[in-house]
């Protein structure tokens, strides 16, 4: 089982995700055929490879610092369903799409899931045909990558004298990692990620014993992306004890709770190891994971138990997360517009689909808690702005080659 995962997915032992992230969603907008789409993608991909070396098309002879820019290419289910491309037979069986929003906006992202689109979202940008993920060491580098992608699309149209564009960027998002390892709700996030030695098996699409029309995707991975807006006002309207029961961890130390009742929560014995310590200070490795079973019923409904129901019990649902926060200023009410770019990699979207739909996992709940007894406002703590499943083909032999290019050849 060779490691042929595209770059920018930092799952290997000792790797740390680069602190900045962006994602571009592209769609086929013209009367494109397969050759035209391939040609356009190759043009854009070549520009991105140059950018990784510090070359900007509009600054010939000048060198920019690429800041270790990485780029990974993905395909959504829509690419394989577009008429005229002839790609229907090449779609990997497991590749799915989220539900579209309601025409009036809002609606669940997946049937039986507790996550809904924001009411202002009437079209899901994540349902696009193609995605490109960027990571880098600076905010400029990942944003410049988006801009250069846009430029490349425009330049390709000009160069090929097409009447209309073949591909267009329909949405893009940015994010950053927090060095304090907390999320906007002030709790530690990503504490319970998979061990490094489990990750390749969990994220890589396994090579089957025989060739099929979808063999091109083997040894790649699937991306699940969700742009999640957080209602911080609703979250802060609840006391720390309520928050801790919803999450399943102590707010300050990140230590998993073993009991919670009457407004008091009790963290795991021996955690933190020293007063004032926390689960990210390197001294509490043995105590990071929540005890199974949870100490009492209310904790059974907590976010970390629901999202990790498989921890030690049902490994089929382990996913590798590499999330990034976002902050987009203030909204019209003066509230901070912020949240999480949920980014996960797994060998099949079914792992996430099951997590979102099955009761006792996250089925029917927005973030955690008892579905029949949600604290006010926390049943809509998180709203979705975009959601996408993309298959990321395996890394090609030559880095300049387009990943997955074989699907564009008859």
């Amino acid at each position: 089982m060779a490691d042929r995962i595209q770059e920018g997915i930092h799952f290997r032992s000792g790797e740390t995700p680069l602190p900045h992230f962006s994602i571009a969603f592209l769609d086929v907008v013209g009367a494109g055929n397969r050759d035209k789409v391939r040609s356009c993608l190759e043009f854009v991909w070549a520009r991105i490879q140059e950018l990784k070396l510090g070359v900007v098309a509009d600054l010939p002879g000048q060198q920019v610092d690429p800041q270790s820019l990485t780029a990974a290419l993905g395909f959504g289910e829509r690419l394989f369903k577009l008429p005229g491309l002839g790609l229907e037979g090449r779609k990997p069986d497991a590749l799915k799409s989220f539900l579209p929003p309601l025409e009036v906006g809002g609606g669940p992202i997946s049937r039986a899931a507790g996550l809904h689109y924001e009411t202002c979202v009437a079209a899901n940008p994540g349902s696009s045909a193609i995605s490109i993920l960027f990571t880098a060491n600076s905010a400029l580098a990942v944003r410049r990558a988006l801009v250069e992608t846009w430029k490349a699309l425009a330049d390709h149209r000009q160069a090929t004298t097409e009447d209309e564009a073949i591909l267009a960027m329909i949405a893009s998002y940015t994010g950053f990692g927090r060095e304090d390892r907390r999320s906007w709700i002030d709790f530690f996030d990503g504490t319970s990620n998979m061990r490094s030695d489990e990750r390749l098996k969990a994220i890589q699409i396994e090579k089957k014993g025989e060739l099929s029309a979808a063999s091109w995707a083997e040894e790649g991975t699937y991306l699940c992306f969700m742009r999640l807006a957080v209602d911080l006002r609703a979250w802060r309207s609840h006391p720390r004890s309520t928050q801790e029961i919803m999450v399943g961890r102590d707010k300050l130390s990140g230590c998993p709770l073993v009991a919670a009742a009457d407004g008091h929560s009790i963290p795991r014995s021996g955690c933190p190891f020293t007063s004032g310590g926390n689960v990210e200070d390197g001294q509490n490795e043995a105590s990071r994971e929540a005890p199974r079973p949870p100490g009492n019923v209310s904790l059974k409904f907590s976010h970390i138990h629901r999202a990790n129901l498989g921890r030690g019990a049902t490994p089929v649902r382990l996913i590798f997360r590499q999330g990034y926060e976002f902050y987009d200023g203030t909204d019209s009410q003066g509230n901070p517009d912020l949240g999480l770019n949920f980014v996960s990699f797994q060998e099949s979207p079914e792992r996430v689909i099951g997590m979102l739909k099955l009761p006792d996992w996250l089925g029917g709940v927005n973030f955690g808690g008892d579905p029949d007894n949600q604290p006010p406002g926390l049943d809509a703590l998180i709203r979705v702005r975009a959601a996408s499943y993309q298959v990321l083909p395996p890394r090609p032999e030559h880095s300049s080659d387009l990943p997955g290019m074989e699907i564009f050849h008859p």
């Binding site: 799409s97 489990e198 089929v316 099951g354």
Partner: protein
């Protein structure tokens, strides 16, 4: 034409022989071969005399066991499996068969897995897995009922089996009407069949909703099973309803691996696949109930799923790595291992059984709305998370069919059981004791090693068999 061979009817007999056998079933039941079969029971049975017996109630808190003798017999079956020679190497302080002996025990439902067959999925893909798992040939001659469960017999091995019920629509086309799921353990039914025909019939009547005939339970020609010995009842019931399911002593008596009767094929009374038994359930939890770990930076860390199965810890010829690809084995074993790592004793909660732990029914739509509640019928259990039977889909008096229901975000019509099984989780209730210190010696005994490289599920031996099944299915159904 060669005479009908009862040993392994569907492997050794042609369809014509099977058809003739069924037409002549009365003659067969009185044949010397059958008489010889049921009388060749000098062996009192493979069941050991256990040194102790737990006190589990009937699975699902059912009222089938109406006497202390039957309850004792069921616990005797459980204990006998636990104490068989082959299982003794797995015994340790981290597992207790007697749930009352688990100090400070808490009953948990977190050991669970999805019910859909994993093997055809990891060998091929979900679409092929669905086709193979749902594979059943058209109803017709009753002998064909065995062929109507090919998918079930070959692939339903995650402790949940199902039967797709077909009916004719107004255009006389056969369509899937509903699906019957069962997680009931065959050993329980075999015990009832041997010891108490009346309670067996009570259970069968409850499951089927009708009065089941003795001949359906014990084979043609049996008008009163109370006239037979326990051994004779066991042989006949296993021949016609449960199959030998890998029990050597039954196979030696000529009981076929799969039942040759219609009842369980058509009504899915309980599980018959060789893997879906009490013995395998005990095995996999026992296997996992050890503090598998390895040292990292001087500290013991829990073994991963792959590490648990990649080493022969108990004298196996080769590591059972293939088990890591499935749903049930990793679910059960790692659940137990996680507790043992913390020095906790685990066991089965009372009552021991396999149950429906969750069902994402909200993922299904009928006419744009949720599926009518009366189309989702759980039974054979005392309440939520103790059910062992699910019937999903319209009843016969409804004009609608299963494929009028859609599932998933892409609104696919439900054409069989696989799509439903993907939204079901099954598992036992487990009792977990209090934490204790695991000694250095205990960790060392079950020390695992990091994997050199990830293994490939698609190269597992089972895939060779399933490729043959897939090719056969394509040929018979005319797919290219």
């Amino acid at each position: 034409m060669a005479p009908f061979d009862l040993t392994d009817p569907f492997e050794t007999n042609t369809p014509t022989q099977l058809a003739m056998a069924f037409r002549n079933r009365d003659a067969i039941s009185n044949s010397p071969a059958i008489s010889q079969l049921v009388k060749a029971t000098k062996d009192p049975g493979a069941m050991l005399q256990p040194s102790f017996a737990p006190t589990y109630q009937a699975p699902g808190h059912l009222e089938d066991l109406d006497s202390d003798e039957l309850r004792s017999a069921w616990n005797h079956v459980i204990a006998s499996h636990y104490e068989q020679e082959d299982f003794k190497r797995f015994h340790s302080r981290f597992f207790s068969l007697d749930f009352k002996q688990i100090p400070g025990g808490t009953d948990v439902d977190s050991v669970r897995w999805t019910a859909d067959p994993a093997e055809p999925n990891f060998c091929f893909d979900a679409t092929t897995a669905r086709k193979l798992s749902d594979w059943s040939l058209d109803a017709g001659h009753p002998v064909h009922s065995a062929m109507s469960v090919r998918g079930r017999r070959e692939t339903h091995n995650e402790y949940c089996e199902y039967k797709v019920v077909y009916r004719e629509d107004s255009n006389k086309m056969l369509r899937p009407k509903r699906v019957i799921f069962t997680t009931e353990l065959r050993e329980y039914w075999m015990m009832l069949a041997a010891l108490s025909p009346s309670r067996l019939k009570h259970a069968a009547d409850q499951v089927t909703g009708r009065s089941v005939k003795w001949s359906e339970l014990y084979g043609p020609g049996v008008a009163d099973p109370n006239q037979l010995t326990e051994e004779e009842r066991e042989v006949l019931f296993t021949t016609w309803v449960s199959g030998a399911a890998g029990r050597p002593e039954l196979l030696k008596k000529g009981v076929p691996a799969h039942p040759i009767g219609v009842l369980n094929n058509e009504e899915a009374l309980f599980m018959t696949h060789g893997i879906n038994g009490l013995d395998d359930l005990l095995y996999i939890v026992l296997y996992g109930a050890h503090p598998f770990a390895r040292k990292k930076d001087g500290v013991w860390i829990p073994a991963t799923k792959d590490e648990i199965f990649s080493k022969s810890h108990f004298g196996e010829e080769s590591p059972p790595i293939q088990l890591a690809c499935r749903h049930a084995d990793p679910g059960a074993a790692t659940g137990a291992a996680a507790q043992a790592f913390e020095g906790k004793t685990v066991g089965f909660a009372d009552p021991l059984g396999m149950y429906f732990q969750s069902f994402a029914d909200q993922d299904f739509l009928f006419n744009g709305q949720g599926v009518p509640a009366e189309w989702i019928q759980f039974s054979r259990g005392s309440g939520k998370k103790f059910y062992q039977r699910l019937i999903f889909g319209p009843p016969d008096d409804s004009p609608h069919f299963l494929d009028d229901i859609t599932v998933g975000d892409d609104n696919q019509p439900v054409t069989g059981g696989f799509q439903i099984a993907q939204r079901i989780e099954v598992g036992p209730w487990v009792r977990v004791g209090e934490a204790s210190r695991v000694t250095e010696e205990e960790f060392k005994r079950y020390e695992v090693a990091p994997l050199d490289a990830p293994y490939s599920c698609a190269l597992a031996g089972v895939c060779r068999r399933l490729r043959r099944l897939r090719d056969e299915q394509k040929e018979i159904t005319g797919e290219d």
